[in-house]
C-alpha cells in the first residue's frame, strides 16, 4: 500500500547560509537556537506543489510590458535553466522573480527609501520552465538601495528568485546578483553563503548570446535544485 519513496539528497554540509549570522542583524531574534531535528523523508516531503498556483499570463515574464508605458532603466534579459544536481533539466516548474525598480525602490507600501517610484514597473514576474528547464525574463536592471542593517549599509542590486521544483524538498528562495558589483564584498546577506563556490552561483554571468541586439543586455543565471539520492530506498 505504501508508495515507494525515492529520497532526495541532503544538501552538502555548510553550503547554505546558517540562520545565525551576526553581521545580518535581523537574524538575532529570528534564528532557531536549537538544532534542527533530522527526520526521514516521507511521502509528505517528496511530494509537493509542482506548478505553484494561479494562472500565468503571456506578459508575466516580461516586466517591461505590464503597464501602458515602459519602465525607466536599463532593459535586461535574464535567461537560464533549472537543473537538478545531476544536471538533469527540471521542466514545467514555476519560477518567480521580484525586484526593486531602477532607482532601487520596490512597489511596496512599506518601502520608504527616498527614491522615485515608477508607475510603469510592478517588479514581479513568473513563468513555467520549458522542457529543457529553460526560463527567460525581460526586465530592467534593479538599483542598489540603502537599508538599516548597519551604518551606510547598501544592498547590492539583486533580483529575488522563487523556484518550486517537483517536491516540497526542492523549494528554493534565493537572490541573483550582478557581476562586478562592488557592493557584493560588503553585503552580509550575500556573504552569509559560506563558500566562494556558493557565492559564485548567486552571481549571474553577462552573456552576449542572451543579449538582444539593440534592445536589452543579457545575463545567464542557472539554478540547481536538490537531486535524488543515489542510494536505494529503505523500504
Amino acid at each position: 500500500m505504501a508508495s515507494r519513496i525515492r529520497p532526495y539528497r541532503r544538501p552538502p554540509a555548510a553550503h547554505d547560509p546558517p540562520n545565525d549570522v551576526a553581521a545580518y542583524r535581523s537574524t538575532a531574534l529570528r534564528h532557531p537556537a536549537r538544532p534542527l531535528v533530522v527526520i526521514p523523508q516521507t511521502l509528505s516531503e517528496i511530494t509537493g506543489p509542482v506548478h505553484g498556483y494561479g494562472p500565468i499570463g503571456p506578459l508575466d515574464s516580461d516586466l517591461t510590458r505590464q503597464h501602458p508605458g515602459e519602465p525607466l532603466g536599463e532593459r535586461i534579459v535574464i535567461a537560464g535553466r533549472v537543473l537538478d544536481e545531476d544536471a538533469r533539466p527540471v521542466p514545467e516548474t514555476l519560477v518567480e522573480i521580484w525586484q526593486a525598480n531602477a532607482a532601487g525602490r520596490y512597489a511596496h507600501a512599506q518601502d520608504t527609501h527616498d527614491a522615485p517610484r515608477d508607475a510603469n514597473f510592478s517588479g514581479a514576474g513568473r513563468m513555467l520552465t520549458d522542457a529543457a528547464g529553460g526560463f527567460r525574463f525581460t526586465t530592467i536592471r534593479p538599483g542598489a538601495y540603502p537599508w538599516g542593517n548597519h551604518d551606510n549599509a547598501w544592498r547590492p542590486a539583486h533580483v529575488h528568485f522563487s523556484v518550486f521544483g517537483h517536491s516540497f524538498l526542492t523549494r528554493l528562495m534565493t537572490q541573483m546578483y550582478f557581476p562586478g558589483d562592488p557592493l557584493l564584498a560588503l553585503d552580509p546577506i550575500f556573504n552569509a553563503v559560506p563558500t566562494a563556490r556558493g557565492r559564485e552561483q548567486l552571481v549571474a554571468a553577462f552573456d552576449l548570446d542572451v543579449t538582444e541586439p539593440g534592445r536589452a543586455l543579457g545575463y545567464r543565471f542557472d539554478i540547481v535544485l536538490r537531486g535524488r539520492d543515489a542510494t536505494p530506498p529503505d523500504e
Binding site: 547560509p17 509528505s44 521580484w98
Partner: protein, 186 residues
C-alpha cells in the same frame, strides 16, 4: 555533480509577488472532508509578532492522497483540492488557514502518519526556509506517529495545534526561545 544553488532570505517585500495576506483558503465548494480553520501566530525570540513572514502549506486531501504524480496510490487526480497555498502574516503576526483535515498518509516502512500539514516558513532575517509540521490535538493517532516519535517528548507539543472548538484550531510558531518550535532537517 552540481552543488545546489544556495538560498537567501525572502526579504521584506515579497508581497509584491504574493499578495495573499492574513487568510488562506485551500478549499472549493465541492472539496470533500472535514472543514477546519487553523489560526496561527508567529513570534520571534523576544516574543514579538513577526508581521512579515511567508507561510507555505502543503497537505494531503481528506483521503490522505497528495496531488502529485509520485503518490502512486492516486488513481485519478482530485480536482477539488490542490493541497498547496501560501499566505503572509498580518501586522499582528497572525495568519488563518481554511482547509480540510488531511487524511493519514504512509510514513517510513508503511507505518501510518497522523494527519498533519507541512509548513515552509520564510521571513526577513531568516536565511533559509524553516520546515515544520502542524498536527492536531484531537487526533489519537498522534501517539503512533513515526515523525513525532523522532522528537523529544517535551518538545512535541510545539508541533500540535490546540483545539478551540469543533473544527477550529490555534497554533503558535515560535522561532527562538524556551517555547521554540521544532524545525526539521529534511
Amino acid at each position: 555533480m552540481l552543488p545546489p544553488t544556495p538560498c537567501q532570505t525572502v526579504g521584506p517585500f515579497f508581497a509584491i509577488l504574493v499578495p495573499e495576506q492574513d487568510r488562506l483558503s485551500l478549499v472549493q465548494d465541492g472539496t470533500p472532508g472535514q472543514r477546519i480553520t487553523v489560526e496561527g501566530t508567529i513570534r520571534d525570540g523576544a516574543g514579538h509578532p513577526i508581521p512579515d513572514a511567508l507561510v507555505e502549506i502543503w497537505q494531503a486531501n481528506a483521503d490522505g492522497n497528495y496531488n502529485h504524480p509520485e503518490d502512486a496510490r492516486n488513481t485519478e487526480p482530485d480536482t477539488t483540492f490542490d493541497g498547496f497555498g501560501r499566505v503572509h502574516t498580518n501586522t499582528a503576526g497572525r495568519f488563518r488557514i481554511e482547509t480540510i483535515k488531511p487524511g493519514s498518509v504512509p510514513g517510513p516502512g508503511g507505518r501510518p502518519q497522523a494527519p498533519h500539514l507541512m509548513v515552509g516558513l520564510f521571513a526577513r532575517g531568516l536565511l533559509t526556509r524553516l520546515v515544520t509540521r502542524i498536527y492536531f490535538e484531537d487526533e489519537p493517532s498522534n501517539d503512533g506517529d513515526p515523525i513525532l516519535a523522532e522528537v523529544a517528548p517535551d518538545r512535541r507539543p510545539t508541533l500540535v495545534a490546540a483545539r478551540r472548538e469543533a473544527g477550529r484550531y490555534s497554533h503558535a510558531i515560535v522561532l527562538q526561545g524556551p517555547a521554540e518550535t521544532v524545525f526539521f532537517d529534511v
